[in-house]
Symmetry: C2
Subunit: 582 residues, 2 copies
Amino acid sequence: MKVSDKFEKVSELARRRGFFWPSYEIYGGVGGFICWGPLGALLKRRIEDKFRDIFLRRLNFYEVETPIIAPERVFKASGHIDNFKEPMVECSACKRKFRADHLLQEIAGISSQETDKMKLEDIGRSLNEHGVKCPECGGLLSEPKYFLTMFQTNIGPYSDNIGYGRPEAAQGIFTEFKRLYEQVRERLPIGFAQIGHALRNEISPRQGPIRLREFTIIDLEFFFDPENPKCHLLDEVADEKLRLILAENRLKGDEKPVELTVREIVNKGYVIVEWLAFFMALAKRLVTSLGIPEDKQHFIEKYPWERAHYSAQGFDQEVYLERWGWVEVAGFNYRTDYDLSGHMRESGVDMRVFKQSDKETVREEIKINPVIKNIKEDFADKAPEVIRMLQGINPEAILEALDKQGFFDLNGLKITPRHIEAVRVRVKEKGKRFIPHVIEPSFGSDRLAYAALEYAYTVKEDRVILKLPRDIAPIQLAVLPLVSRDGLPEKAKEVYSLLLDEGFYVEYDESGYIGKRYARFDEIGVPLCITIDYQTLRDDTVTIRDRDTWRQVRTKIAEMPPLLNKYFRFKINFEDLGTPHR
Amino acid sequence: MKVSDKFEKVSELARRRGFFWPSYEIYGGVGGFICWGPLGALLKRRIEDKFRDIFLRRLNFYEVETPIIAPERVFKASGHIDNFKEPMVECSACKRKFRADHLLQEIAGISSQETDKMKLEDIGRSLNEHGVKCPECGGLLSEPKYFLTMFQTNIGPYSDNIGYGRPEAAQGIFTEFKRLYEQVRERLPIGFAQIGHALRNEISPRQGPIRLREFTIIDLEFFFDPENPKCHLLDEVADEKLRLILAENRLKGDEKPVELTVREIVNKGYVIVEWLAFFMALAKRLVTSLGIPEDKQHFIEKYPWERAHYSAQGFDQEVYLERWGWVEVAGFNYRTDYDLSGHMRESGVDMRVFKQSDKETVREEIKINPVIKNIKEDFADKAPEVIRMLQGINPEAILEALDKQGFFDLNGLKITPRHIEAVRVRVKEKGKRFIPHVIEPSFGSDRLAYAALEYAYTVKEDRVILKLPRDIAPIQLAVLPLVSRDGLPEKAKEVYSLLLDEGFYVEYDESGYIGKRYARFDEIGVPLCITIDYQTLRDDTVTIRDRDTWRQVRTKIAEMPPLLNKYFRFKINFEDLGTPHR
């Protein structure tokens, strides 16, 4: 038998016991889609819940849930239509299509840092120079073209009503920002997160759960006043040490991480905005709590040409995985006002917020007054709606459109100069209007779950033990009668019911020799096995067995629920669950 | 001001305070998409978690998470390509498109029972007879055509690789059934559920959160042996009373519900399978626990022509909503072996399970042996894969294809008679192979959340109180210093931190007069407000105020966490939280 790497071992276990596997196998499989099974879906959700706890509940930030399908204008505004594309070549013989930059990396040995900087012509030239042929059939490759890596569809029955599957959950927060901001009573700074499926139509996905066409994204959009960028929570993480690979060192060819405290990172100016370092520190705690050692994580600062189109500074949080090396599990980007400005431009809706100050400012402003008579004449029933909508639109946008094309498009209605009157007004305000800036921590839930599995996968005495941290283990407890006779199953079922009623995730199992059952539960990471034996029938005590050490303690059944609650919240250790057994 | 109905009132509150609102308003809105905001997303998730608790954790069933995008063959197999379509007409003048059956209902006054039975020609004839014109411009309507109401896209860069957004989460379970069944160690009966976004490309959606193009579906697929259809858990719900509108009564024109216990429903044979009644009883409990009174719920049995294409018997669970009358929140269908058979036919993969029995049966079976030499010659590197794949395929399917078209399509590879040898073998088995049957309870999460909001919406002394059941209220606790001076905010923040550390969803608020703050939290359904006053500084007690009765009790801060935990799990009542105050 050939030696398999850890990815193969984890995948085999994941497929057999129900963590994850490739989707649609009965139809030959479709690249880039995976399923999370009975155990995997629970594990993944527990990780997402952990994010919710650390980044939302404790910070008084909020989760939202917006659609996956969005109309084309959203992605025009966000820059995705222009930027979310990859270079692709087609084989003239077998007609297969490939990522052109990947071919350069794999066949010509050019680094991704290099290919990331290349224009389409550069890629074409380089493919020619290196004589790159089709890796499947050796055929000639076409000139590279850009392929838009979003899933396209139509919304409703009209073919010109184009929609896309969202490649990130962030835009669902930006398009709704005005409402959200009102709903939280105009609080800044404030964070809104979204956890949900995202879609990226990769040209030729590989790498199992690492590069997917459909995956779960965890996007947190944190809005703040750029004139007030201080992080008031910095003290809470100031001493946390982060391993950082800085762009300035990378340029010198040094890719070794430096270890710095958050305080040092901020003081030395390695981050443009303090909050960036704050969220990186929380992210390190989150990833560490999934069982990934500190020295198997780091943050790598991206070069300008490696960053997404909206980013002014960016770090990737990477985790070391046996097969692929350092793999991104999260990105931290300073998105500035890029997105809100884009939506303001595209929609004409004012996305600015108002900030009070003691100083009174006087400014000239253009105000648009509706000419009600003409609007009624031209729009009849829709007049009230037109008048209402006009109020929400940035006057500059209307005047610019009138100037350029003679009309303003108000969601399909043509507003011409006869419908409005522009007046200059002097506005006295104690304060000013501005577009909030955004810091975005963004996690890949599937990758986090895979990484947790890989680090939990250990072997002891030739058996697999899945040492998942106890608070993300999918099944918390197994209840096992020592043998399936003499009233032990009945007693065990009572204990099972008791624990179910207390809200635990419990399995009951009486099939086969007890050692084999222990092994079965060790393999799926159940932290504790509770065994009902003959002594239980006499004194209502059970044994509790620790997955990792195989040690056992003995405890009164009635005392178990509060003890277990504390154990799973890390308030007590295994030894505190009872008295040592044997 | 005009009188607004409850939907308008709930929607106004929902928009203003962050429960839900129409998506993409800055782009003029896109019909059929909504956003769940900071409070709404939490409410909706708490409802989904309740489903998880009642239908999964307690029954030892499992949740899975599979992709939203699926290849075309999945929906060929499931019958959706043929059946998931609606009649559509286009206006020849303004080019707008409409659901033809909806026009008949709204303009010609024909009932949906009637239009549901009509063929395309019938609809066209009826539109003509009733002289139905375009409701927007009065233009002539085209002949009706069918419109496939799935969102279509391409997977990857190949235009012939068509995919669809799933209209139900169920198929993700059926396509993976073989793996799932192995992962649970071949246990029957067994249930697998999926909670996730589903997509239905409605022609002209309306009705806010009720008819959506993108929504959250909760599909539970319960697999059982049709020869052993008894529900062993029936006793747990036998005395639960359900209000049923039976198809036999509906045929007689009687749409009044009859109230029957689950035991009676089963004994009188009103359900084909006991499990159908079992899940309906659990669903009644779930919906009741969301605050919807029993007399505002019922189950209506569907006529054959109203049922989905896969259903042999179906009930809709309906809830009464003020604007729309009785609205479906869940469907219960006996899907038989329709889906697994479809996927077995389309994929050629054997979806049967094996059942042991004492009786030995001998049967003749056709077995396919690979002709290894020829396979190696023709498929080179892929030979081992071909040999492995051939083993998973139903021999009948291979022989049928060879017979019909001369080859069998093995995921793109042509298997011809020279690659295989068919032999007849006598198989002795203690048992038999069969396709499990399926009962499906399926909920609409958005509708459940909306219904909970509508029933929670009450007015007391001219103020809105959102009387959400305490276990689904998004924010559990508010911590309020009586005034924002004299050290009360500092003390209140200590209490806030304590409750955060205990895992509660808490808000802190010190802005404005205390009565106004109470009103603000009543309006979003926070069950308890905790007030820190001058007495707190002396004796470390706080007042706890009940949202619904406005009564108050006084409690020691240190005693609060365990009491609150019990309160939110319905183990104690408000009065048990402390001693009466004032």
